[in-house]
C-alpha cells in the first residue's frame, strides 16, 4: 500500500509566499527555517510514498514519486538549499529571497514529480525564478542576459511540452519515463539539451551566470543543469551519442574556461565541462556509469556551489571579477582561500576529495565499455580542469597585487563555505557514504591502482604543461594578463568565427525578423484602420482610373490624414437604424438557410 507524504517542493514554494510577512532578522531566521524544513521533509521520504492531487476529471497530478534515483538528487538539492540560504544570509532584497526559495522548491518539484505535467510546471517555474535571480545581479548586462536566458528556456520548455504531448497521445501515459522514439524523443532531447547545456545549446549558461547576483550564482549553478541531468537519467540513459556529447562538453567547457578572465565566466564554463561528465556517465548507461554520473551530480553540486561561494565572497569583498585585477588575497581572506583550495582539489579530482571518486567512476565505466575516445576526452578534460584551477587559485590569492583591499567574508558566508568544504572532504575520504545512496548497487574501488595511476598521469601532464608555461613566462611574470593572451590567441580564430560571420548572420536575420515584427505590431495597433490604409494604398492607382480626379484627391487627403493620426480611434457604426437593418438581414439569412431545405 502506498503511503502519503508531503511533497518537499511545497515547503519552499509555500514558504516563499509568506516571506513579505516577516521583517529584519525574523525574516532571515524564517528563510533558514523554511530551507531546513524542506531538507527534513526530504529526509523523511521513503521509496514508494505518494502524493496525488486530483486535477481534471480523470487526471491526477502525481506530485510525489520517490525512488532511489530521485532520493539521492533530492537529498543534495535540499541540502545545498540550506547551505545556499545560509550563504545568502546578508541578501535582503525581498524578490531575491522569494526567487531563491522558489528555485529550491521547483528543483525539488522536478526531482519528485511522478508525471510529466507536474514536471513541466516545475520546469517552467525553475526557469522563471532563475531569470529573477539573474536580474538581481547588479551587472549592467544582467537584464539582457536574463532576457536571452528566458528566451532559450521558453524554447526548451516548449520542446518539453511538445514531447510530453506527443508521448501522451502515442501511449496515453503521463508517467515520467522513457518516451516514444521519433519526434517526441528528439524534442525531449532538445529540452534536456537546453537545460543541461548540450554544446550548441549551452550559450545561455556562461552568458547569464556571471551576471547574476553573488548569492544568486550559488543557487543558480545547482538546479537548472542538474535537474536536466536527472530527467536525462530518468528518460534516456544508455545512448551512445549522448555519451559522446558528454565528452564534447568536457573538452569544450575546459578549453573555453581556460580562455576566460572573468572568474565567474570561467566557473560557468566549468559547469558545462563537469556536466559533460554526468552526461557521459548517463550516456554510457551501464550501472557503474549511471552511478558515476549521479554521484558526480551529487559531488559536483557540493564543490561547484562551494566555488561559487568562494568567488562570490571574493567579488563581494573586492568588487572585482577579473583574474587580471585580482591577486594577493591569500593573507586577507585565508578562510576563503582554504575553502577555494578544497573546492579546486575536488573539481580537479585530487585523491581524498569527492570529485576524485565520481569522476573515476565515469572514466572507469568508459574504459569498461571500451569507448577509447570518450575516455581520452574525459582524461584530457581532467588535465585542463586541474590547470584551470591552479591558475584560478594562483591569480586570485597569490599573484602579486598591492593595490587590492579586502576583508574576510562575513560569518554566515564562511559558515556556508565551511559546511560545503567539509562535505567535499567527507565524501572524498568515505565514498561508501555516497555509495549507499546511489540507484544501483556499487562495486567500485575508488582508490584502485588503475585510477590512481590515471590520476598520476593527469597530475604529471598538468605539471609538465605548467612547468613549460612558467618557464616560458618567468621573465614576464609581472605581466600576468599576457599569460592568458597566449590561450586567447590560440582560441581567437575560432572565437573570431563565432563572433564575426556567425554574429553577422544572426544580426541580419534579427533585423529581418525585427522588421516583420515591427510591421505586425503596427498592424495590431488598429487592425481595422490598418487594413483600410493598406487596401486604399494598394488600389489607389486603380481608383484613379475609375473615379474623376476630384474624388481621388479627396481620398488621397483622407488617406494621408488617417496615416498621420494612426492608430487613432474609429467609431464603429452605431444607431438603431443600422441595428434594425442588421436584425432583418440576419432574420432573412436564417429563414433562407432553414426553408431552402424544407420547402
Amino acid at each position: 500500500m502506498m503511503d502519503m507524504a508531503i511533497p518537499p517542493a511545497f515547503i519552499p514554494i509555500a514558504g516563499a509566499l509568506l516571506v513579505p510577512v516577516f521583517n529584519g532578522n525574523k525574516r532571515k531566521a524564517y528563510l533558514l527555517a523554511v530551507s531546513v524544513a524542506a531538507l527534513i521533509a526530504t529526509f523523511m521520504l521513503v521509496p514508494g510514498v505518494e502524493f496525488n492531487l486530483p486535477f481534471l476529471t480523470g487526471y491526477t497530478l502525481a506530485l510525489l514519486h520517490v525512488d532511489t534515483l530521485s532520493l539521492v538528487v533530492g537529498y543534495i538539492f535540499a541540502f545545498i538549499g540550506v547551505v545556499a540560504m545560509l550563504y545568502a544570509f546578508r541578501e535582503e532584497r525581498t524578490g531575491h529571497q522569494i526567487a531563491a526559495l522558489v528555485q529550491i522548491g521547483s528543483g525539488l518539484g522536478i526531482v519528485f514529480a511522478g508525471d510529466f505535467f507536474t514536471l513541466f510546471i516545475f520546469w517552467e517555474l525553475l526557469a522563471v525564478s532563475s531569470v529573477i535571480l539573474i536580474w538581481y545581479g547588479s551587472d549592467t548586462g544582467s537584464r539582457d542576459a536574463g532576457m536571452r536566458y528566458i528566451l532559450m528556456h521558453i524554447f526548451g520548455g516548449g520542446c518539453l511540452l511538445g514531447a510530453i504531448a506527443l508521448n501522451a497521445s502515442a501511449t496515453g501515459s503521463f508517467i515520467v519515463g522513457p518516451v516514444v522514439p521519433g519526434l517526441s524523443f528528439l524534442l525531449l532531447m532538445i529540452a534536456i539539451g537546453v537545460n543541461a547545456a548540450f554544446i550548441p545549446l549551452h550559450v545561455w549558461l556562461p552568458d547569464s551566470y556571471p551576471r547574476s547576483s553573488v548569492a544568486g550564482g550559488v543557487i543558480l549553478c545547482v538546479f537548472t543543469t542538474k535537474a536536466a541531468i536527472y530527467l536525462l537519467a530518468r528518460t534516456a540513459s544508455g545512448i551512445e551519442a549522448v555519451a559522446y556529447m558528454g565528452g564534447l562538453m568536457v573538452i569544450y567547457g575546459v578549453v573555453f574556461a581556460l580562455l576566460q578572465n572573468d572568474v565567474r565566466k570561467l566557473l560557468s564554463y566549468h559547469i558545462v565541462s563537469q556536466v559533460g561528465y554526468m552526461v557521459a556517465g548517463i550516456g554510457i548507461g551501464t550501472a557503474l556509469a549511471i552511478n558515476g554520473g549521479i554521484a558526480h551530480l551529487f559531488n559536483h553540486i557540493l564543490y561547484k556551489a562551494l566555488l561559487f561561494m568562494c568567488i562570490g565572497a571574493v567579488i563581494a569583498a573586492t568588487g572585482r571579477h577579473n583574474l587580471s585585477d585580482l591577486g594577493g588575497l591569500a593573507r586577507k581572506m585565508p578562510v576563503t582561500l582554504i575553502a577555494c583550495v578544497v573546492a579546486a582539489a575536488a573539481i580537479s579530482g585530487v585523491p581524498g576529495f569527492n570529485g576524485f571518486i565520481s569522476k573515476g567512476m565515469v572514466i572507469g565505466a568508459a574504459a569498461q565499455e571500451h569507448m577509447v575516445f570518450l575516455e581520452i576526452a574525459l582524461i584530457v578534460g581532467s588535465i585542463g580542469t586541474l590547470l584551470s584551477f591552479v591558475k584560478l587559485t594562483y591569480y586570485i590569492f597569490f599573484a602579486k597585487n598591492d593595490s587590492i583591499e579586502a576583508q574576510e567574508a562575513p560569518l554566515p558566508m564562511l559558515l556556508a563555505m565551511g559546511i560545503a568544504a567539509f562535505c567535499c572532504i567527507l565524501y572524498g575520504l568515505f565514498p561508501s557514504l555516497l555509495y549507499t545512496l546511489l540507484p544501483f548497487p556499487v562495486d567500485y574501488h575508488a582508490f584502485g591502482i588503475a585510477h590512481l595511476i590515471e590520476t598520476g598521469i593527469v597530475g604529471a601532464a598538468a605539471a609538465v604543461i605548467l612547468f613549460l608555461g612558467w618557464k616560458l613566462f618567468v621573465p614576464k611574470e609581472k605581466r600576468v594578463p599576457e599569460f592568458m593572451e597566449i590561450y586567447r590567441a590560440a582560441g581567437n580564430g575560432f572565437v573570431w568565427f563565432c563572433f564575426s560571420p556567425l554574429t553577422l548572420t544572426a544580426q541580419a536575420l534579427e533585423s529581418v525578423q525585427n522588421r516583420v515584427i515591427g510591421h505586425l505590431v503596427w498592424f495590431s495597433q488598429n487592425p481595422v484602420v490598418a487594413l483600410w490604409i493598406l487596401v486604399i494604398s494598394v488600389f489607389l492607382p486603380l481608383i484613379c482610373l475609375i473615379l474623376p480626379g476630384k474624388n481621388v484627391s479627396a481620398l488621397q487627403e483622407n488617406l494621408a490624414q488617417t496615416k498621420k493620426s494612426y492608430p487613432g480611434n474609429i467609431r464603429p457604426i452605431q444607431g438603431s437604424g443600422y441595428g434594425l437593418f442588421l436584425v432583418s438581414l440576419l432574420l432573412l439569412v436564417y429563414f433562407i438557410s432553414v426553408f431552402r431545405i424544407s420547402i
Binding site: S524, N526, G579, L580, L585, L587
Partner: protein
C-alpha cells in the same frame, strides 16, 4: 413549510425589497443600500440552499397557486438554473456592494433611491427568468429585467448615457417582440406555454414551418439580447456610458440571462434532436459565433477607451459561450456553460477595476493609465489576474473553459473553430497586454501626472468585490472540479432530450 416555497421566495423577496427600498428611501435616503444588500444576501443564501437541494434530490417543481402545470405556471429548478442562479446572485451581491461608493460619484443624489429600487427589480426579473418553467412567464420576467436595465443605463450623469439607453431600448424591444412572436407561434401550434409540456407536444410538429419560423424568431430575438454579432450595436455604448456598477451588473448578469434563456429554449423547449437533425441551423449559428469572437476582439483592439474596450471584448466572449452551446456536444457545452461563470467573474472584475480607476482619477482612456500600478497596486493586480484569465493563461479559469470548448470542437471534427479560439486568444492578449504594459511599465504623461500620483486604491466597499472576483479567477481555475460537478449533470440533462 417554508423550504417548499423557496423557489417562489427567490422572486418575491427582491420584488418586496424593491418596494421597501422605495418607501424607506422616501423616509431616508441612506436606508436604501442596506435594504438592497440584505435582500440580495438572503436571495443568495436561498439560491445556495436550492442548488444543494437540487443536487441532492433532483429537480424541484413548484406550482404557482397550486394550479397544475399545463394550466398554471410552474417553476422548475434543475442543476442548470440552480447553477446560474448562484452565479448571478453572487455577482449581483458584489455589484451591489461595489455600487455603494461608486454610484455616489456617478449618479445625482436624488436618483439613488430609484437606483436601488430598479436594481432590485432587475435582480427580481433575472431570478424569475431563471426559475420559471413557463414560456410566457419567461417573457414577462425578461421584460421586467430589460426595462430595469434601460433605466439603470440611463441613470448616469452623462448625456451619452441617455442615447445609449435609448438605443438599447429600441433593440431590446425588437428582441422582446421577436420572442413574443415565437411564443405566439408555439401557442398557436400546441395550445400550451409550459416548457415541459411543449417539449412533449412539439416533436410531431417539427416539420411544420410554423414551428421552424418560431424557432428562428427565438434565435434572432435572443441573439439581440446576448449581443451576438452583428446584433451587438447597442452594447458598447450601453456598457461604457452606464455608471460603473451598472456596467458590471449588466455585463455579467443581464447578458448571462440571455444566454440562459437561449439554452432553455434550444435544449428544453426544443430538443437537441430538433436543432441538430431537423433544421441545419446550428452550423450557421456556430459560424456567426465564431465571427463574433474574432470581430469582437479586433474591434476591442481599436478602442482607446478602457470601458469601450471591455465592452467589445464582451462581444467576443459571448461568442465563446454561444459557440460552446452551438457545437452542442457534451464537452463543448460544458465549456460554454463554464464560460458563463468565467465571463461573469472576469468581466465583472474588469468593469469594476475600470470603474475604480474612474472613481480614483477621473481618467478613462487607456493612454491615461500609464503608471497607475504604482498608486493603485491592488486594483492593477486584480486587473492583471482577470486579464490573464481572459487571455486564457492557466491556471486561471479562462483557460479551462476555452480548453473545453476547443476540445468539444475537435471532438465534433470542426477543427476550424479551434483555430478561431487560438487566434482570438492571441488578439485578446494584444489588447490586454497593451493596458497591462501602460499600467506597469510606462511613466505617466506630464498632463496626467497629478491625477495618477494622487490616486489611491478605492475604498474597501469597492476594493473587496474586485479582489474577491480576482481571487475567484484563480480559485475557480484550480478547483474547476467544483463547478464542473454541477455543470456536468446539467449538460447531460440538457442533451438527454427529456
Amino acid at each position: 413549510m417554508i423550504p417548499d416555497h423557496l423557489t417562489i421566495l427567490i422572486v418575491i423577496i427582491p420584488l418586496l425589497g424593491a418596494y421597501t427600498t422605495l418607501l424607506a428611501g422616501w423616509v431616508k435616503r441612506r436606508f436604501c443600500f442596506p435594504i438592497a444588500m440584505v435582500t440580495i444576501c438572503i436571495q443568495f443564501c436561498i439560491s445556495l440552499a436550492l442548488l444543494y437541494q437540487v443536487m441532492k434530490t433532483g429537480p424541484l417543481h413548484y406550482n404557482l397557486g397550486n394550479w397544475l402545470p399545463p394550466w398554471g405556471i410552474e417553476y422548475v429548478i434543475d442543476p442548470l438554473n440552480g447553477f446560474v442562479l448562484v452565479v448571478l446572485l453572487f455577482l449581483s451581491l458584489l455589484c451591489c456592494m461595489y455600487s455603494k461608493r461608486s454610484i455616489v460619484a456617478e449618479i445625482e443624489e436624488k436618483k439613488i433611491v430609484g437606483f436601488y429600487t430598479v436594481f432590485l427589480l432587475l435582480v427580481a426579473g433575472v431570478c424569475g427568468i431563471a426559475v420559471t418553467g413557463d414560456l410566457f412567464n419567461l417573457y414577462v420576467f425578461l421584460e421586467i429585467s430589460s426595462l430595469a436595465a434601460y433605466a439603470l443605463v440611463a441613470s448616469g450623469r452623462e448625456k451619452k448615457a441617455l442615447f445609449a439607453s435609448f438605443n438599447y431600448l429600441i433593440m431590446g424591444s425588437v428582441s422582446a417582440c421577436f420572442i413574443l412572436i415565437g411564443i405566439g407561434h408555439l401557442y398557436i401550434a400546441t395550445g400550451t406555454l409550459n416548457m415541459a409540456d411543449l417539449a412533449r407536444l412539439l416533436p410531431p410538429l417539427y416539420g411544420s414551418p410554423l414551428i421552424q419560423s418560431a424557432f428562428i424568431f427565438f434565435i434572432v430575438g435572443l441573439s439581440i439580447k446576448t449581443a451576438l454579432f452583428p446584433l451587438h450595436l447597442w452594447l458598447p455604448d450601453a456598457y461604457s456610458y452606464a455608471p460603473s456598477a451598472v456596467s458590471a451588473l449588466i455585463a455579467t448578469v443581464m447578458s448571462k440571462m440571455g444566454v440562459y434563456a437561449l439554452i432553455r429554449i434550444l435544449f428544453t423547449v426544443f430538443t437537441p434532436a430538433f436543432i441538430i437533425m431537423e433544421i441545419p441551423i446550428m452550423e450557421l449559428f456556430c459560424w456567426i459565433a465564431a465571427i463574433a469572437i474574432i470581430v469582437g476582439s479586433v474591434l476591442a483592439i481599436t478602442q482607446t477607451d478602457l470601458k469601450m474596450m471591455l465592452a467589445y471584448s464582451s462581444i467576443s466572449q459571448m461568442g465563446y459561450i454561444l459557440l460552446g452551446i452551438g457545437i452542442a456536444n457534451s464537452v463543448a457545452m460544458t465549456g460554454g456553460i463554464l464560460h458563463i461563470l468565467n465571463h461573469a467573474v472576469m468581466k465583472g472584475c474588469l468593469f469594476m477595476v475600470a470603474g475604480a480607476i474612474i472613481y480614483a482619477t477621473g481618467l478613462r482612456t487607456i493612454d491615461d493609465l500609464k503608471g497607475i500600478s504604482r498608486t493603485m497596486p491592488l486594483t492593477a493586480a486584480a486587473f492583471f489576474i482577470a486579464a490573464a484569465s481572459m487571455i486564457g493563461i492557466p491556471p486561471t479559469v479562462g483557460f479551462m473553459s476555452k480548453w473545453f470548448i476547443a476540445l468539444g470542437a475537435l471532438e465534433s471534427g470542426q477543427w476550424f473553430f479551434v483555430v478561431i479560439i487560438l487566434a482570438s486568444s492571441l488578439l485578446t492578449a494584444i489588447y490586454f497586454w497593451r493596458v497591462f504594459e501602460y499600467m506597469y511599465f510606462r511613466e505617466p504623461d506630464m498632463a496626467r501626472q497629478a491625477a495618477v500620483a494622487g490616486a489611491n486604491d478605492p475604498p474597501a466597499s469597492m476594493l473587496v468585490p474586485i479582489l474577491i472576483l480576482a481571487a475567484a479567477c484563480i480559485l475557480c481555475g484550480i478547483f474547476v472540479a467544483v463547478p464542473l460537478e454541477v455543470i456536468e449533470p446539467s449538460v447531460t440533462r440538457l442533451l438527454g432530450g427529456n
